[in-house]
């Protein structure tokens, strides 16, 4: 996983609450067997019309936001399904940080596994940074995870994040490698299990 330390990128405002994973990546685009190429269909229902043509009035179809690296939205971003295709699509589009007042749990978790920073700011601050993002002159944001700050339009917003999540992002840790190193401990745990657990032995 790519580490997240700092990000200097154009921010795009998407002032919508409850942006669900079906909006980020509709079900009919989930039929692939790789992670690649999903940026093309990110936010498909908002970005494209019924004939699959880009909607000129949608922010990610306009310069400079067609190269956005930061997305700002409202409450409950990423609600819905567990599809990791949603963060994969953001990443493939070039978005490494989403700012919102709140995130759905599974989506937030999936972001952390992909080097995307789910950055929580109070709603009033989200609305304030959206105003800056709407003006091309102030749309370039600086995000520092080590300092826990967003800088835009000459102002600085501090943000909070759990210590464990921060370390994971800063170091780009691979949790699977770390857990594989604990296999002896896992096997000792398995030998001690005293409750009834499902087993498909002999299938």
């Amino acid at each position: 996983m790519q580490a997240f330390i700092t990000l200097d990128a154009v921010a795009a405002a998407l002032p919508i609450a409850n942006i669900d994973t079906d909006k980020l990546v509709p079900g009919r685009f989930l039929k692939g067997v790789t992670r690649a190429g999903l940026g093309r269909i990110l936010l498909h229902p908002l970005r494209f019309d019924a004939d699959d043509q880009p909607r000129a009035d949608f922010v990610l179809n306009q310069s400079p936001w067609d190269r956005a690296g930061v997305l700002i939205a409202l409450d409950n971003f990423g609600c819905g399904s567990s599809r990791e295709h949603a963060p994969w699509a953001l990443l493939d589009f070039g978005i490494r940080c989403v700012i919102a007042p709140s995130f759905a749990d599974i989506f937030r978790n999936n972001c952390l596994k992909n080097g995307i920073l789910p950055l929580v700011l109070p709603e009033a601050d989200c609305l304030a940074v959206m105003d800056l993002a709407r003006d091309p002159a102030t749309a370039r944001f600086s995000v520092s995870l080590s300092d826990q700050t967003v800088t835009a339009g000459g102002r600085v917003w501090p943000f909070g994040i759990g210590a464990a999540d921060k370390t994971k992002l800063l170091e780009g840790q691979d949790e699977i490698d770390a857990a594989l190193a604990r296999l002896p401990e896992i096997k000792r745990f398995e030998a001690r299990i005293g409750y009834a657990a499902p087993h498909l032995g002999g299938v």
């Binding site: 002032p15 919508i16 609450a17 409850n18 669900d20 079906d22 909006k23 509709p26 079900g27 009919r28 989930l30 039929k31 692939g32 067997v33 790789t34 992670r35 229902p45 019924a50 409202l74 409450d75 409950n76 609600c79 819905g80 399904s81 567990s82 599809r83 990791e84 963060p87 709140s102 995130f103 759905a104 749990d105 599974i106 978790n109 999936n110 596994k113 992909n114 759990g162 210590a163 464990a164 370390t167 949790e175 699977i176 857990a179 594989l180 604990r182 296999l183 401990e185 896992i186 745990f189 398995e190 299990i193 409750y195 009834a196 657990a197 499902p198 087993h199 498909l200 032995g201 299938v203």
Partner: protein
């Protein structure tokens, strides 16, 4: 004496392999359900690492999202869907995992298959790359959806890195009224606490109305926990749970079952255990529920009206309501009773079990689907289908003009050919009314199975209590 613990704490305590610091623990996963959509990249990751699956006998693979529900014998016609399903079968064979073929009576939606096979056991941890894994919490199992990176983590190590979630008690006092269902209850709960009201929490459902539910109803309730933002929902196991599990194919048998029941009885939250949040719901006040918008929290009783914008003070909230009403083709302050529907979908991991089909058949029996309405009944598994046919429910539905299909996720998420056309309005027993969820431009009204059947017969949304 040790401090009182919740059911959730007890399950966490049983499954902690290691304390990783910073609030993280390495949590053991007892059972892993794997379907075709969220797993191919995880298996590819294993290949790149050169590692196998740590516990194949605790892993079950079955295709459900993409499978056709019509003419199963003809195979999967859509080439992408076929490739994804074939890839799952290839992965299962390569990594030595149990696989349920498409033509097996065991095939079905993962969250219907696990419980009916006796694989969903109280006090265990269950994961799947699917947010409706919350369903299994009906048995007092800690069950939640994970992303594909985590699917790979579980395949490789049978563990996950977890923080202990906050606990929320939803106490449902009193009894549901006549004809009210688990679906009405959970929709009312979501309406009360909101689509992100339980984010970062795990819900425990308790109270008389929950105790009164059969296992199918409890699964319906837990299934939609994620629609309130909770990764998981839990119900303490009791006699209803034990009776359901006894004799199931993979459940403990004989003396082992009795020993397991003795252990399961210790799982319920201790009397003085405390929760981070408590919500109280009056079951007796719940009426048949129907969603009007494109978020499950946008829900009212069938006798209600869409929001009256003049009383919504917050501009942002007003804009959101206006947007949802426009998408749904509705006006402010509009009654839903009487709204014509084009399609009715009865099925899904929320309401695709035998009890759900019986409830729908009770309304359909001796009546007929309205003209121009397309009505689908999609059993949750091959066993549900067989059991329904043994009771003659297939004849009830077919005689009434419903289509009787094969098992799968179907029109819940429009990955297979069962989809809404743009602008089509659907009364659906599924779990999400998101824009485009059932097909681009489709308009979804979430309801119970009996309300869906009533809508099919009437050709419009209607109060099921008006059907004698």
């Amino acid at each position: 004496m040790s401090p009182p613990r919740t059911l959730l704490s007890k399950i966490y305590d049983r499954h902690q392999v290691a304390d990783l610091g910073g609030g993280d623990m390495l949590m053991y996963v007892d059972f892993h359900l794997v379907h075709e959509v969220t797993s191919p990249q995880a298996f590819e990751g294993l290949r790149q690492r050169g590692v196998g699956v740590h516990a194949p006998a605790q892993t079950l693979t079955v295709a459900d999202h993409n499978v056709p529900t019509l003419n199963r014998a003809a195979g999967v016609l859509d080439p992408e869907s076929r490739a994804q399903i074939e890839q799952l079968q290839i992965n299962a064979a390569e990594f030595g995992l149990p696989w349920i073929p498409l033509d097996s009576v065991d095939q079905g939606i993962v969250h219907v298959v696990g419980p009916e096979q006796g694989l969903t056991l109280p006090g265990t941890t269950i994961v799947c790359g699917d947010s409706h894994t919350a369903t299994h919490g009906a048995f007092g199992a800690l069950a939640f959806g994970i992303g594909t990176t985590e699917v790979e983590h579980v395949l490789a190590t049978q563990t996950l890195v977890q923080k202990r979630a906050k606990s929320m008690l939803v106490q449902v006092e009193g009894a549901l009224g006549r004809g009210m269902t688990a679906k009405d209850l959970i929709l009312a709960i979501i309406g009360r606490i909101g689509a992100n009201g339980a984010t970062s929490y795990i819900i425990e459902y308790a109270g008389q109305a929950i105790r009164d539910l059969d296992m199918a109803g409890r699964m319906t309730v837990c299934n939609m926990s994620i629609e309130a933002g909770a990764r998981a929902g839990l119900i303490a196991p009791d006699e209803t749970t034990f009776a359901y599990l006894k004799g199931r194919r993979h459940a403990p048998q004989g003396a082992a079952f009795d020993a397991a029941v003795a252990d399961w009885r210790t799982l319920a939250s201790d009397p003085r255990a405390t929760y981070d949040a408590v919500v109280r719901i009056d079951a007796g006040a719940i009426e048949p529920m129907v969603t009007w918008g494109s978020s499950p929290e946008a829900v009212i009783s069938i006798g209600g009206r869409t929001p009256n914008l003049s009383v919504v003070a917050d501009a942002g909230q007003r804009a959101q309501i206006e947007q949802m009403l426009a998408y749904m083709g509705l006006s402010p302050n509009q009654p839903l009773d009487g709204l014509p529907v084009d399609t009715v979908f009865i099925g899904s991991c929320t309401n695709g079990r035998l009890e759900d089909l019986r409830a729908a058949a009770d309304i359909a029996r001796g009546r007929h689907v309205a003209e121009r309405v397309r009505a689908l009944v999609v059993p949750g598994s091959g066993h549900v289908k067989a059991a329904a046919e043994a009771e003659g429910l297939d004849r009830v539905f077919i005689d009434a003009g419903f289509e009787w299909r094969d098992a799968g996720c179907s029109m819940c998420l429009g990955m297979n050919p069962d989809r809404l056309a743009p602008g089509e309005r659907c009364a659906s027993t599924s779990n999400r009314n998101f824009e485009g969820r059932q097909g681009p431009g489709g308009r979804t009204h979430l309801v119970s199975p009996s309300m869906a059947a009533a809508a099919a017969v009437a050709g419009r949304l209607v109060d099921v209590r008006s059907f004698g």
